[in-house]
Symmetry: C2
Subunit: 345 residues, 2 copies
Amino acid sequence: MNTTIKEIARKANVSLGTVDRVIHDRGKVAKKTKDKILKILEETGYKPNIYARGLVLNKSYTIAALIPDYNKGDYWELPSLGLNSAAQHLSQYNIKLEYFHFDQNNPDCFKEKSHVLLRSNPDGVIIAPVVNFEASYLCKKLNHLKIPFSFIDSKMEETEYMSFIGQDSFQSGKLAAKLINSLVYEKGKILIISIRNNSEFNKTLQKRIEGFNYFFEELDSAQKLEIEEFSIDQNISNWDKELKEILKSRNASGVYVPSSTVYHVARIIEDSQLKIKLVGNDLIKKNIQYIASGIIDYVIGQRPEQQGYLAFDNFYKYLITGQKVTRDNYLPLDIVTKENLYYYK
Amino acid sequence: MNTTIKEIARKANVSLGTVDRVIHDRGKVAKKTKDKILKILEETGYKPNIYARGLVLNKSYTIAALIPDYNKGDYWELPSLGLNSAAQHLSQYNIKLEYFHFDQNNPDCFKEKSHVLLRSNPDGVIIAPVVNFEASYLCKKLNHLKIPFSFIDSKMEETEYMSFIGQDSFQSGKLAAKLINSLVYEKGKILIISIRNNSEFNKTLQKRIEGFNYFFEELDSAQKLEIEEFSIDQNISNWDKELKEILKSRNASGVYVPSSTVYHVARIIEDSQLKIKLVGNDLIKKNIQYIASGIIDYVIGQRPEQQGYLAFDNFYKYLITGQKVTRDNYLPLDIVTKENLYYYK
DNA sequence: TTGTAGGCGTTATCAA
DNA sequence: TTGATAACGCCTACAA
């Protein structure tokens, strides 16, 4: 049994109200009585009963999530699953989730949705800062309104975010390089193929490629492999054909696709029966079948569902239980392959 | 705002007491009124307010954990860390953890601790069923006393456990085989070395080895590798010397140690500057340094801290929030290597 | 500056 | 078979 305000009051020979005033530092209390109460509080290690507290406050919180729009099977479906799951688990605590989806290819859309979000006056905001400049403006606004916000997937260093949940992209690329290197037995040519579905500069992609190259730069020159880099924009017509052409002509032993779109390469490898080792990112549905069949050799996962779950859970912790929240949360780089695929699904 | 009993009562034109009787299925309620109330309950999707519930019940729960004794840095330290962490997070809900440690090498000790545990009359029990026969007796007792219990690390199929949290050992072995296979470039001799610190038959170890062998049996005969199996008992004097002898004489290209004791092999490989690829299990402290230096090429992790956390959290869910609990929880087989080590620590 | 009372939603008890 | 009510611990508003 924990100590209650009642007991504290009795011990200090004052009323409940006075103890309450001391605990919450509100209103006038004589210095003498205040000190006396503080001492007892300290001694007894008073902790408020969260049930009673939750019951009387009965506050309802809304967390707004500003994340990219997606089709079924896309990467951004996964963080949403995690967010939903957390929201459901914590629904009994009167904390709920509201989505504001934006089109990744359209910065104006992000801007517009930011405004709608702000008008809804949420108690916390989860942001996927895919459109950097516009996000920066939003963060300033939120800061001014004293609304706490978190980043998911990637972060903007210069802002006062409450927490970040994501992965280390540079290291992800390095790891991919190691895996490819072991697959091609340290000989042969390697291709890095970026397949983007938006024309924007993408920090995550860039960092993964840097990490990938870094790994090979660090190797002895004897073990070095030839590496060629390609970039495919899915908004260009015939991108599919171009991709096929590259894969068929370059005589590569391994390919790295630094994004979830690796399934496109897998499809071509399967159709054309090429003997190319393949490493990519993210455990999305479209990749899973190719991992199961062994065409994609390894995928590096970043636990997107957990990212979503944690992002929401952090607000529960912060707003409701009053716990401290870890600011930077780097999730593990999971190596997923045929043999352990099942346990990651 | 969620629906309350009050509202339900008003809608059904009955009193709070009657609604309460229906919800908890206690006491006499006319069939007609009962059906009416059930219908409204259904329609409104009534969920009890956990704060009010917690406040009035003000129950205190104790979860007993019966797990092996350990020294700092041993495997069993890790599940304990997770258990402690969960217990701390949930302490405000009046649920606490009590340990009953036993000596893995001594079935009598397990038996004795079981009795002490039962006498403490816990509200839930977490068991590491390392000593099978004795555990079976305990489970029957708990069943009879209607005390729910969970397994951690491995389970006993034939009992009525509430939940199990662990990994798939067979698949773990298979995965290890795949990694070794890629490391030795599909040629060379492979050793499986079991290093046990107790003389008992160990199900987990056995299953891993089966999985490992299975992987190679499935390969084309052209790719098959020669595999030799050894078993070292740490209770025998000179086991260290024997191990060294094996490693030096067999001209192996790869070694698999199906347990957390892989660091012993790593030490010898480092000291004797052998060129042997090495795969083992578990991210314990003694292994971490060898992963960081690349002497252990891969370790397969089973998230022991999370196992501990989940085991405790499941009791919180079950006893306090009344949620349903997933019965079998297989955690992912994490592949850990130099490049992603940091994010698993 | 301090004390008191009412209420949050649920449970349990007692009276009708 | 049903209804009314006190209690859990905390917070807030108002009275003293």
